[in-house]
């Protein structure tokens, strides 16, 4: 039973702080993309396709990082029973699903010119699709259950087992793929691209942190509203 303190709404000063961080994150992203495109060498055969990696790879990394956040905060919730931990896990799951969807779209945009088909059962792409479905399952559980504690406990269980399964899914899919054709990973990253990639990876990281934080703050406000209307109803009843 979450006897923890009811989550209070976020104070105004903290919001302004995070808004500044938001602007910084997006500015940093624009800068990173511009720099990456500028310094990447003109490619002989692939045209500019390598540049898609500047968004595809960071997005895939975030899609791996966000479920880890869900795992950590779900475990923390089961331990502390603090509503805040549950709300962070839920926010991270929603952001993870968004990045997973983006990564899948970018994977298809990458596959089309590279292999001439929109979808290939490539190990990473397929694992990403399974991860997307696992996250959809997590969000479905949260949408279906009304009681706050039950929703928190069930989604924590689903989140933890889902996160444990991510590496296993990737391993089984990779084995399944290598049985049938050599691993079709993009050619090893030329050093010139590494800087661009790393820059954009940090940019995506800042954007993701900002998204999770904003979504968490919105969830806190919603929770405070629920708390206020419930205590109002409690007092109202007595009048």
């Amino acid at each position: 039973m979450s006897t923890g303190a009811i989550a209070e709404p976020i104070s105004a000063t903290r919001t302004r702080g995070w808004t500044i961080f938001g602007w910084f994150a997006f500015a940093f992203l624009i800068a990173s993309q511009a720099i990456a495109i500028a310094i990447s060498p003109p490619d002989r055969d692939m045209g500019d396709l390598q540049k898609i990696m500047y968004v595809h790879v960071p997005s895939a990394w975030m899609t791996m990082l966000a479920p880890l956040t869900v795992l950590v905060f779900s475990l923390k919730y089961l331990w502390s029973r603090r509503e805040q931990d549950d709300l962070v896990a839920a926010s991270a799951a929603e952001v993870a699903a968004t990045f997973a969807g983006l990564t899948l779209a970018l994977g298809m945009i990458w596959a089309r010119p590279t292999w001439g088909i929109w979808w290939t059962w490539d190990a990473r792409l397929t694992s990403m699709l399974v991860l997307f479905l696992i996250l959809a399952g997590y969000l479905a559980v949260r949408a279906v259950v009304d009681d706050r504690d039950q929703r928190a406990q069930w989604s924590a269980a689903v989140g933890i087992l889902g996160a444990i399964n991510v590496p296993i899914v990737y391993m089984s899919v990779r084995w399944w793929r290598t049985l049938h054709q050599i691993q079709s990973s993009p050619s090893t990253v030329a050093p010139a691209y590494v800087i661009g990639l790393r820059l954009n990876a940090f940019a995506f990281l800042f954007v993701m942190i900002y998204f999770i934080r904003r979504r968490y703050d919105a969830a806190l406000t919603l929770r405070a509203a629920e708390h206020a209307s419930e205590s109002a109803a409690l007092k109202g009843g007595a009048a």
Binding site: M1, T3, D146, E226, E230, A233, L234, G237
Partner: protein, 233 residues
């Protein structure tokens, strides 16, 4: 079990429970001593059964505190659960198993001997129907089997949700004799009632839920007076 006199069987303070955003229970404060029988009255939908399920640790309170036999339902629900026996509105039996099999299953789950199960069967008068599938039993007979399970469990706190519904006169007599027997051993009972008549012989007092809280009640029978009441009631 800890039969110390001072530990109250049920100690509820401002127990509240929501359904969505509206409050079904706004703040129930009730103390039931061991050996006491309390009737819980209230119109339909006032949360009588909900409160019973909270005491049975099936449902968590959204606010307030509750101790059953001294165990806090929030911190040690498992200990509170061990002291409780819950006769629900639904019989909670397995239709495809026979009467005896249902009770032997309960005995296995409650770590009781099969002989205890047979004794409970006799106590509720179901020994002749022992080999019948529960599916074939009338609802009154099914309730007797649920009561037998309660006899087998020997709870410290008996939570009875409208136990008299679809019981015949003999069934009501059986229920009341069991309750009297239990309260003699210091077992407390909280009985959700629709109408007072069948239970009047065993009730110490009644409380009524009005608008999510307990209203102080006028029918405060004493059990010995109850006998006289039954004649006139």
């Amino acid at each position: 079990m800890n039969g110390t006199a001072d530990v109250s069987a049920i100690d509820a303070t401002d127990v509240a429970r929501r359904l969505g955003t509206s409050w079904v229970l706004r703040g129930i404060t009730l103390r039931v001593a061991p050996g006491e029988v309390v009737g819980l009255l209230g119109a339909n939908g006032t949360g009588k059964s909900t409160f019973l399920r909270i005491v049975a640790t099936l449902v968590r309170p959204h606010a307030g505190s509750l101790r059953v036999c001294g165990h806090d339902v929030r911190t040690v629900p498992a200990r509170a659960r061990e002291a409780v026996g819950y006769l629900a509105h639904l019989p909670g039996l397995y239709d495809d198993l026979t009467v005896r099999e249902n009770l032997h299953f309960a005995a296995a789950m409650l770590d009781r001997r099969r002989a205890d199960a047979e004794a409970a069967l006799v106590r509720v008068g179901l020994e002749r129907a022992a080999e019948q599938r529960v599916r074939a039993l009338s609802s009154g007979m099914q309730r007797r089997l649920a009561i037998a399970r309660l006899v087998l469990r020997q709870p410290r706190v008996a939570l009875l949700d409208e136990p008299y519904s679809n019981l015949d006169a003999a069934g009501i007599e059986l229920m009341n004799s069991l309750v009297s027997e239990w309260t003699g051993d210091g077992v407390a009972a909280l009985i959700v009632l629709h109408e007072l008549a069948p239970a009047v012989g065993v009730l110490d007092r009644t409380v009524t839920i009005v608008d999510g809280r307990l209203a102080p009640n006028v029918h405060d029978h004493q059990r010995h007076a109850g006998a006289m009441l039954r004649v006139t009631g």
